[in-house]
Amino acid sequence: MSETAPEATPLPAALLLAAAKRLGMSVLPFVVVILVWQFASLFFPRFLFPSLIDVFWRCLQIFSDGSMFADVLATIFRILAGLAGAFIVGGLLALLMVRSRAVDNFLSPILTLFQGIPALSWVVFAIIWFHGVEFRIFFIMVMTTLPAFTFQVLGALRGMSKDLMEMVFSFRPTRMKLFRVMIAPAILPDILTAWKVNLGNASRVVVVAELVGATGGVGYQLLQQQQLFDMAGALAWTLQLVFFVLIVQGVLTLIENTAFRYRAVAERSL
């Protein structure tokens, strides 16, 4: 009984070099886009391609001005609230669908129908149906991301290993323990992917919702910049959302790297 699983230990210098290479490769596309834009700003009028230095100062202004930053926070809150609402409702619907074929048969066509409705239509419906601005936006966010969350959680639940499930069942777990030791860790990778995908969708939809039906937030501010023909301002406000998405994606990736460290990594990539 002296079997061992041999594992090569790479040198720290080689690891550092590999990390630097990875970082360089991920930064390179941004550097290229920045350079191209800045080059274009030398030849085009300011309202078409403003200098990125101007954009940088406008970003700084948004960060430092309390009322402007409140608009950014309002949008972030709307995105997160909408996503959380859709995730909770979608998760519950997926659980019901996986437990009952009748519920699945009933809900699947409805959710597919919802998927076909454009975000802008939901904005119009919300404006007609509801009065409160915040509820309208919450409704729009939930309705546009609900089908994707539901189908993704449903797929994750259905994709769970039957063998592992049977093994856990053989220990006679309570429902709570079954969820904690088996279901939650098994579906977590798909849930994180669902959040990543829906985060991008939600950040686009929230702008549309705010553009039409809000008196504050990034979407509302973008409308102001459009009326002023201020491209630097429009870019600066857009970048707020991009920063937010990048930060949340980074957090999700960090969670993935920590939570999924159990995964085997093939030396030869795809």
Partner: protein, 255 residues
């Protein structure tokens, strides 16, 4: 040489049948047909049969994972399917493949059954550590399954089954996916642990040699799972008698 039904059986099957698909239709498949079987406490029963003879179906019915279509299944006097939860900690299973949770380390996998029994964390860890060490996995406690070899993973799954100190062990060809030398080593270790801890074990296999090595009773099944041959023996059974049993099993299987 056969065992009669006894009221104090650890496992009792009476007239058990299992039909998959709708009974009476063309798609219906009878996997088990009117099976009667009793296993005494402390007995090591090897269920032997060709692939597809219904061994795993019997196994799943004893484990309470499948409901019989007709007949009675009793484990320690209770219905394992209807009284599913009452067997928590009383029955443990070693599957054909290791079935380790990939997101748990080796020691956390061994702790799984103990968690279901609400054993305090410190006690869980000590017990899991003890079983991993017994099975020669000291130093690999924190390794994830993907970092372990097939033999090591199967040993973790054996440790997981023994850690709960269940009275009844069900094993579904647990060594069939391993190379012969690893399988032989684990088999010997397994028999020693079962005897030492006085467990009742049902061991499914399709190998005559494995059944002879592990069981103190062998039941040979014919398709659909009915008993074709039932034989008990012990340490006093001589080499000649064992050879006789072996050749008889071979005849039954090839009939």
């Amino acid at each position: 040489m056969s065992d009669a039904a006894t009221p104090d059986s650890a496992i009792h099957l009476e007239g058990v049948s299992k039909v998959f698909g709708r009974a009476g239709t063309e798609t219906a498949y009878r996997a088990v047909d009117g099976l009667n079987l009793d296993v005494r406490p402390g007995q090591m029963l090897a269920l032997l049969g060709k692939t597809g003879c219904g061994k795993s179906t019997i196994f799943n019915m004893i484990a309470g994972l499948t409901e019989p279509s007709s007949g009675t299944v009793r484990v320690q006097g209770r219905d394992p399917f209807a009284d599913f939860d009452s067997f928590r900690g009383k029955m443990a299973i070693v599957f054909q493949d290791d079935r380790l949770l990939p997101w748990r380390s080796a020691i956390a996998n061994v702790e799984l059954g103990l968690e279901m029994l609400d054993i305090p964390a410190a006690e869980r860890r000590t017990t899991a550590q003890l079983w991993l060490t017994k099975l020669g996995l000291g130093g690999h406690e924190n390794d994830f399954p993907h970092a372990l070899s097939g033999g090591m993973r199967q040993r973790v799954s054996i440790a997981r089954a023994f850690a709960t100190n269940a009275n009844i062990l069900l094993c579904d060809e647990p060594f069939s996916a391993l190379d012969e030398s690893t399988a032989a080593r684990l088999r010997a270790e397994f028999v020693r642990l079962v005897k030492e801890n006085n467990k009742t074990a049902v061991f499914i296999t399709h190998s005559i040699s494995e059944a002879m090595e592990i069981g103190d009773r062998i039941v040979v099944l014919k398709r659909p799972a009915t008993i074709a041959y039932d034989v008990s023996f012990d340490g006093d059974t001589g080499r000649a008698d064992r050879e006789l049993i072996r050749s008889r099993i071979g005849e039954v299987l090839s009939a």
